[in-house]
Symmetry: C2
Subunit: 579 residues, 2 copies
């Protein structure tokens, strides 16, 4: 029998939730289309995320939109050109290429492959005599493969650009602008929902590992000296299932249940903002139909974390085929990104905090010593001086004892360093960042899997009512005698009220209920002969198949309340025994 994933995908393709992209050309791995129902479902999840994470916090979290294609310099600064890589190995005989760690996992008994270095992988391939799984050929040396999609901006081939692998960088680049337009206050959250691209070596897991997907991300900027979250009180007593880093390292994968407050106090979670968003993420996923007991937060060991992160929790959800799969990540990015962009752009990204009382601070000034540099570099001195990064000069010189510029190494002696004590009323600093980041496509698939139920050989998609792509089906009992006309009127009425409605008159009423149940329509409205006489219709509940009778004149208002969540099904009308 097909496994649950296959049964879901059969439904998804047939009814228009998800299918492989470019199918008529044989498909391209790692790319999927969302069909009519899938698009509305995904869109509803994204809008709900917006309400949950942005609108509710609209006094300090704002959304922006930045481009997907960005110049190479951005990813040089962000570290992605160097670190955003996987290990790849090529067969010397058939020249197929494989992700080296996955190949080792599938060809040996080694399970934990994520933290293996290139040397480890080469050694294992040699020692265990791992061969090409396709042709049995000998494998070449393991290499690194950068996962950024590369392109050229404009007509000059040297203007390299990349598609962003995360929405974050656009938010770091715009930080100063947003900060100023938001009247220079911290904490400040910058959010973005948008497409990102990751050129995976050989993605295989359908809608789970994609080369292009939608990310929903917040960069929450805060003053590291004032890192408490003013909203933490609202969530501090809510429990999370977490697996701390030391247990992950030892392979102990049993989570502990701990309140957000305790998790911060005991150092499991690095700060309140990180914990705040983790709780919010748990409640968000719960509201999409994923029970909290199926959600775990795993603290990623240092060697598995992204290069920018001082702590990352993966929020994972159990899926039938793939086990625990990450639906969101929570990273403490410190001031890594801002400091890198400050260094690479030469633009000061620090913000200012006024102090309660003035303090004495040592100010270091560094000036080129022309008496030394002049004779030493002669005509080249001008180029040298314009190439210096004055923003980081003092700190680099003092920490390393030298700076490198235009190929030359300059020491402290090449500069005049003066120190003075100043009374200052405030300090300049780089904000720190906590980042919750959700994969919208994965979340959408996960929601489908948790909603997917079977009963007597039929499918019932128990989607939460607020995100169901179609909220109401309107059926005339038969397609004659004026019933279609009345049903169409009701369809229009509900459509204009802003509900997502479908009208269906073909096939038996039972057959139509089946069709509505399998795409998760919460309420079916049936117009029968009595409706013509008494102005009432029957409502049927998708999950219980119970029915109530309601006046058409009450229909719009009560259904709106039902979908807002302020009425339950039984409150919609009077109990009714169906045929």
């Amino acid at each position: 029998m097909a496994d649950k994933y296959e049964r879901i995908m059969e439904l998804a393709k047939r009814r228009g939730f998800i299918w492989p992209s470019a199918e008529i050309y044989g498909g391209v791995r790692g790319f999927i289309d969302f069909g009519p129902l899938g698009t509305v479902l995904k869109h509803n999840i994204e809008e709900k995320w917006r309400r949950f994470f942005i609108h509710r916090h609209s006094d300090f979290i704002v959304e922006i939109e930045t481009p997907i294609i960005m110049p190479a310099k951005v990813f040089e600064a962000s570290g992605h050109l160097k670190h955003f890589t996987d290990y790849i190995v090529e067969c010397t005989s058939c020249h197929r290429k494989f992700r080296a760690d996955h190949l080792v996992a599938s060809s040996t008994d080694i399970v934990e492959v994520e933290s293996l270095s290139i040397e480890d992988l080469n050694r294992i391939i040699k020692d265990r005599e791992v061969r090409c799984p396709e042709c049995g050929g000998i494998l070449d040396e393991v290499k690194t493969f950068n996962l950024l999609f590369k392109t050229t901006i404009g007509p000059y081939s040297e203007n390299v650009g990349y598609s962003r692998p995360e929405a974050a960088q656009g938010m770091f680049l715009a930080f100063k602008r947003v900060y100023e337009s938001m009247r220079s206050k911290l904490p400040l959250g910058i959010a973005q929902i948008g497409r990102v691209m990751r050129n995976e070596i050989s993605p295989r897991q359908g809608p789970i590992r994609l080369r292009e997907f939608t990310i929903m991300e917040i960069e929450l900027f805060f003053d590291p000296e004032q890192s408490s979250c003013p909203l933490f009180d609202n969530v501090k007593n809510i429990s999370l299932s977490i697996i701390p880093e030391d247990k992950v390292r030892k392979g102990l994968l049993k989570p502990i249940s701990i309140t957000a407050k305790k998790a911060v106090e005991e150092g499991y979670i690095v700060n309140e903002w990180q914990a705040y968003f983790m709780v919010l993420g748990k409640i968000f996923m719960e509201s999409l139909g994923i029970p909290s007991e199926m959600q775990i937060f795993i603290d990623k060991p240092r060697e598995e974390r992204a290069h920018y992160s001082a702590q990352t929790f993966d929020q994972v959800v159990k899926l039938e085929r793939w086990g625990y799969v990450e639906v969101a990540g929570y990273s403490y990015r410190t001031d890594y990104d801002l400091s890198r962009h400050m260094k690479f752009s030469g633009v000061n990204l620090r913000v200012y905090r006024q102090l309660d009382k003035k303090i004495l601070k040592e100010k270091v000034t560094v000036k080129p010593n022309m008496k030394i540099l002049g004779p030493k570099f002669k005509s080249k001195v001008r180029e040298l001086l314009t190439s210096l990064n004055y923003e980081s000069l003092a700190s680099e010189l003092l920490s390393k004892g030298f700076v490198e510029v235009a190929g030359y190494k300059l020491s402290k002696d090449d500069f005049i360093i003066s120190r003075e004590k100043l009374e200052v009323g405030g300090i300049h600093f780089l904000p720190h960042v906590v980042e919750p980041s959700f994969g919208s496509d994965r979340v959408t698939y996960t929601v489908l899997e948790y909603a997917f139920h079977e009963k007597d050989g039929r499918i019932i998609l128990k989607l939460p009512r607020d995100i169901a792509p179609i909220q109401v089906s309107v059926f005339p009992l038969v397609s004659k005698d004026g019933l279609p006309e009345l049903a169409t009127k009701i369809y229009r009425l509900l459509l204009e009220a802003g509900l997502r409605v479908e009208y269906d008159e073909s096939g038996s009423i039972g057959r139509r209920y089946v069709r509505a149940d399998e795409i998760g329509v919460p309420i079916a409205v049936t117009v029968d002969y009595d409706s013509l006489r008494d102005g009432s219709v029957t409502l049927r509940d998708r999950d219980t198949w119970r029915q109530v009778r309601i006046k058409i004149s009450d229909l719009k208002e009560r259904l709106l309340k039902y979908f807002e969540g302020s009425l339950c099904f039984e409150e919609l009308g009077t109990p009714f025994k169906g045929r």
Copy 2:
């Protein structure tokens, strides 16, 4: 004095609507960021487009989401690899590159450059001695430059992919799937809102000519034998300002005003679907604040149309700096795209129409003649037979007299062609397509420009109330004596009702009105000392600066009605004379 565009961009950057991307790295031409207010404005415009074009037609128009990066084959089939080009010319001395037609326009008195061929451009550059505008150097031959952003999918360099320049192709590829999930009915509209990329040679017009932008597009598939639009009656008497193709050709740019019905009857507009969407587009832009008299529909002459189009109307709107600028295009793409994808994929994309009564039809069957092919090709015959495109074999063979396959030319004699008369109950055909397509970024800028007003040296952004990024500002008159507490309560109340609200207590009340007016907040709520006593607040109208007084207990409900459009400002409360 700065022109209107510069004044708008000053506001846009300062308050967070729009700014250049990657500014800290000096910016990249053709890329912009939407800041916090710009993102909400753009999002609101997109949601409104969704309601206008999709939700209202949800019985036959559905939305899908497909990837940005697509394999090369798709664009080979769609014709973009060949036709989606501009002419480029390089300076032989400084090696700068220019868009050839723009260079001719700026260096000569020739205005109409869009239709010039590569030969025309080379001749003009030679005859008029056009030189490099940067260094005066001699220009090289004009070449074609493909505007697709190129990349590689996965680790094999031969797997070329491109970023889509329009959302359309994803919808053509998915047509069959969507058609089947929508129960195989025509007309069928497939819509998509998403990012597209066009690698312009040297974009210069700020937010108008972008290399990456958001498109809002519908492919409306219909049976060419039944091309009438069932909703046409609703719009047929609405007038459009159009400039027909023959007038455009003669340079006569005075539009004629004509009803949609007459425009179709007299052949100006090719069919009812095209006219229906043009009217809808006009009303849509009007609802965003662009008066209909500032909108013109220009019929593009054949030589300026995209390769796939049998008729394209550009909907243009007058902008201060750039003159008439296209905000939407309406193209009759016929069955061009589906027929090309059918040919290139070998997958039958035809749909079926049942006929009222059976007809006799000749069926042609073509089989390889093995007696001839066998001896002729020997061991290669197998490869030959599997490479044949059986889908198009008969039609190609009969029309051209031969087919080419795997480098060989096969004639009619290599096949056995049999014909028989069959009684058939239906016919198979390719649907035709009409495509309305909007650039969301341009529309957003256009809306900003039309909303931009100045009065006594102040800016008032008269955005339509339903799309204003912030709908309500809540101000305590002073920031003490319990006023901030009450104002915060009101802020929360309105926020939870789903309104987009801001709270502001800093600076004088007059200063706060100025700040709210310039970002287009329709209503300001002021909490004063009387509010503490009588439970009322003052509402101020952005456009008239008039004020009314309203009970806090009525506030939420009435404001919701005001923003739905069912109450006007004066109906919100009782007239009130401000301080």
